[in-house]
Subunit: 334 residues, 2 copies
């Protein structure tokens, strides 16, 4: 099995109160680079941070890596607009860091990166892949794409958050500002996924949607491994003309998020949803407490990795033990 991770950044993430994908704004720009390294090597090797939330909750990359220790899978990281170097090997598709979604044209590379990622997806010889992401502020740009596509008013509306209290109103303001700056009404980019990505999205959504489209065009099965950002990838695929049920694998934390009706999202977008609960409540360790309080919830293909572990018959207690072993061996966190 191959897990493909699209990792990148935007200036949207630096808007106050939007994201918990880093201890602070300065650390956050390193989060996707560090996440990729953690899945590739078990720890950051070039990035100068271990990604944690402001309260110290460790990145979901740690969970994905722990699963990789137990259920071997190939890893392919795609540079979807990294702003800082990573020591993880990456595939290049021409993506650049995204701007601020409140500007007119925040993702100028969206078209090119989408098409290059589509070619990459078409060329992948695998029977099946899991597709995940790491991008701080990604639920805000996902909301922006939903708005541009006209999906926000439908049953599939809404996005989750890496914060326990989803700053929904703040995200809506940001998106409204972005639509105005881009000269778009809600739904103005329906049927035009690349326009939605360029004007209201981020480079990770562009690369993930392009990769998924290319895979599906060449009979590589795709499991969207994540929460509402990956559900937004599903919406983009619908607007690109993709029919048929799509697979989404996410965590119990997203399923339990009161700001998202996952069943309605699944109905609206014809998603077959796999929810996996790592039972962190049985873990009895501070590293798990943030997740139980609603922090992080998803990211770095965590839900997909947990699904792979369960499918392989690995007990969740073993996954938790590996997470803690990995956690204890991290620099600065031990």
């Amino acid at each position: 099995m191959r897990v493909v991770l699209a990792v990148g950044t935007t200036e949207t993430a630096t808007i106050d109160g939007i994201s918990a994908a880093g201890a602070d704004a300065e650390a956050m720009v390193h989060t996707p680079s560090a996440d990729a390294e953690i899945v590739a090597y078990g720890e950051p090797i070039r990035a100068p941070v271990v990604p944690v939330s402001p309260t110290g909750t460790p990145t979901p990359a740690l969970v994905t890596r722990a699963v990789r220790d137990l259920v071997e899978f190939d890893l392919t990281v795609v540079d979807a607009g990294l702003a800082e170097p990573t020591g993880a090997p990456t595939v290049t598709v021409g993506a650049r860091p995204g701007g601020d979604v409140r500007d007119e044209d925040p993702v100028a590379t969206a078209h090119g990166a989408f098409e290059a990622a589509r070619q990459f997806g078409r060329a992948l010889p695998d029977d099946a892949i899991y597709l995940g992401e790491s991008i701080p502020g990604g639920t805000t740009t996902a909301l922006g794409v939903q708005a541009a596509l006209g999906e926000r008013g439908g049953a599939g509306a809404g996005v989750s958050s890496s914060l326990p209290e989803n700053p929904v109103e703040r995200k809506r303001e940001v998106v409204a500002e972005g639509l105005a700056a881009s000269g778009l009404d809600e739904g103005a980019a329906a049927g035009e996924p690349k326009v939605a990505l360029r004007r209201m999205g981020d480079p990770v959504l562009a690369v993930a949607a392009g990769t998924a489209l290319g895979c599906l065009e060449t009979d590589t099965a795709v499991t969207l491994a994540g929460g509402t950002q990956l559900a937004t990838v599903a919406a983009l695929l619908r607007h690109a003309g993709v029919d048929g049920t799509l697979e989404l694998a996410t965590t119990s934390f997203v399923a339990a998020d009161p700001s998202v009706d996952l069943d309605a999202v699944a109905d609206s977008l014809d998603l077959s949803v796999t929810v996996t609960d790592p039972a962190f409540d049985e873990g009895d360790h501070p590293a798990f407490d943030g997740y139980l309080a609603g922090e992080a919830k998803e990211g770095v293909a965590m839900g997909g990795a947990l699904a792979l572990a369960r499918a392989a018959g690995v007990p969740m207690a073993d996954v938790r033990d590996r997470v803690l072993a990995r956690y204890r061996s991290l620099p600065d966190l031990s």
Copy 2:
């Protein structure tokens, strides 16, 4: 286990009659990109060629990939001066394609790439790695480095070849021309490995030597997985002050090469050499014939991969079967 591959190109490879690492000069520039993709995905996905020698012998990458199917290992490809895009994920260390070794300053990025690779090697958390290469024309630049270091006259002298008839005289002429252009006498760069790399080497040797040095400095064991190019990496490490026995794993084809005295090389550089014979003579298939006639011999960590297979108890018949299965499924070769 992690296999690290340094892959890159030089203009030296385009000198007539130097290399068989490609069907022709136009195809050769794609060989390292394609080799990385074959080990990563099983086939080229972005590179427009399947690397074969002019007589059709398939690249050693196919053998390394076949072993990877049987003995799982992590793969990390380092971009050591690729001139054409690859779909394989790569780590960036600032290397650029090398020039023609007959010019004064063919590897201007040697110092920077060596040091960045050293930092990468220092940061790798692995207990042990295997280190291989793919670079057409690489034995000629290896000979150039040996000359600059003053190793050419010693017992460790000489390089192998991807051609059955090693064009030793042609290589010596090229190296003599390079020394003159660089204003270096033989041995003028003794104790200065980065000078030897910059004036007479290639970016793959720079990245491989830097990576190995960084690993050894931080107690990550290194097996040099290859033939005389990797032995030249060992020489560079000696000139960088590395003591203690170094491990080299290569193929029986290099061991049988009449143009190299592998035992003398091992004595001279204090190498512990593991030679693995894939018994292609028992394979009874045209894909193996080139190897039996002395083509290719090594590359893309083939000797290291075979050693990993043997250490894991995988019969060489199984390796050969996987090589043929991979060979038959390649585009344009099936």
